[in-house]
Symmetry: C3
Subunit: 138 residues, 3 copies
């Protein structure tokens, strides 16, 4: 059993979902691990890491619109000094989480047919987001 850490950055150009599945697959290949788990973690509090349907872009747009409505920008937030999209970003992050752990079997992530790993960016402005990938296995 070993542990291998990898880091990479994603440039976002504002709100939306950005698929990370290929980058994570690449790190697992680099690790040469055959069996274990991979934990993907975002080092931020205004974007999330989440599994999502990866075939239909319309489905992802519906997810994004749902969170716009569920956590509105025009609510009366106490913490509002970093812009109207800041506090909704923190709340959306709490609702969707910072990490997921996926099993690795025979060198491959055990994702379902339609599952992808996504960065969910909640801020309007472009950001560089740090992603941490930890492979534990043998």
């Amino acid at each position: 059993m070993h542990v291998q850490h990898y880091h990479f950055e994603v440039k976002t150009d504002g709100k939306g979902t950005y698929e990370l599945t290929d980058q994570v697959t690449d790190k697992i290949d680099k690790s040469s691990m055959r069996n274990g788990t991979v934990t993907v973690f975002v080092q931020h509090t205004s974007c999330s890491l989440t599994m999502m349907e990866n075939a239909a872009p319309a489905a992802r747009r519906d997810v994004e619109r749902f969170f716009e409505k569920l956590v509105p920008e025009d609510s009366d937030y106490e913490h509002d000094d970093e812009g109207p999209d800041d506090m909704p970003a923190h709340i959306r992050m709490v609702l969707t989480g910072a990490s997921e752990t996926v099993p690795i079997v025979g060198g491959k992530m055990q994702l379902g047919t339609w599952q992808g790993i996504f960065l969910f960016e909640h801020r309007c402005e472009p950001h560089r987001r740090k992603i941490s990938v930890t492979v534990i296995g043998e």
Copy 2:
């Protein structure tokens, strides 16, 4: 330290919560591991894996009703070609997650008194759901 993977399927008969605690316990017993963690992961994007109160069926029905109201079927979704329950299923999955990791101490999951591991099925039709259980430990 070792890693052991197990897989099983759950037949659902539509929306609802299905407890998986016994099946996961059984896999840990099979692994003979005494100390470590177990990660339970659903290989789907229209059902979730979540911890929940396991003693009161009424509490689970309240959870199910809450999500029916929070993510309604009759909203104006762009992605609607797979039926009115499809897009709400994907959104509910994003809100509740695909995996949980639970510590194993002395061969037993360290669950609280009322904690159970549940598959949360979001589709109306019966489905066969693939669950992956990964035990890492010694």
Copy 3:
């Protein structure tokens, strides 16, 4: 590779967010592990474990107020024999989760600048909450 388990309790005095980052850091120091992951898990179904913005208390109050409104106490719950704050607590737990896994590199958790680990207490009365910390690594 080794696994080390730690347990501690947090006394809450009702609803709110309680930072656990220092306690978790302390357990990692005790484990002397340099590389791996730490999984933090709450053994309860009426409080959550979540990552959150740790610099602005106003931001955390906004998160708390959001969940008060999203999952109201005065809704018509079937399971209501343990007080009006009980069923909302279970639902808020399902929405926010029971565990997070954070990478450890060079003996330190790889948290972002503003990330903290929080117990999110959903009940009104004071409680003693059991937290489990599992370090896997080398």
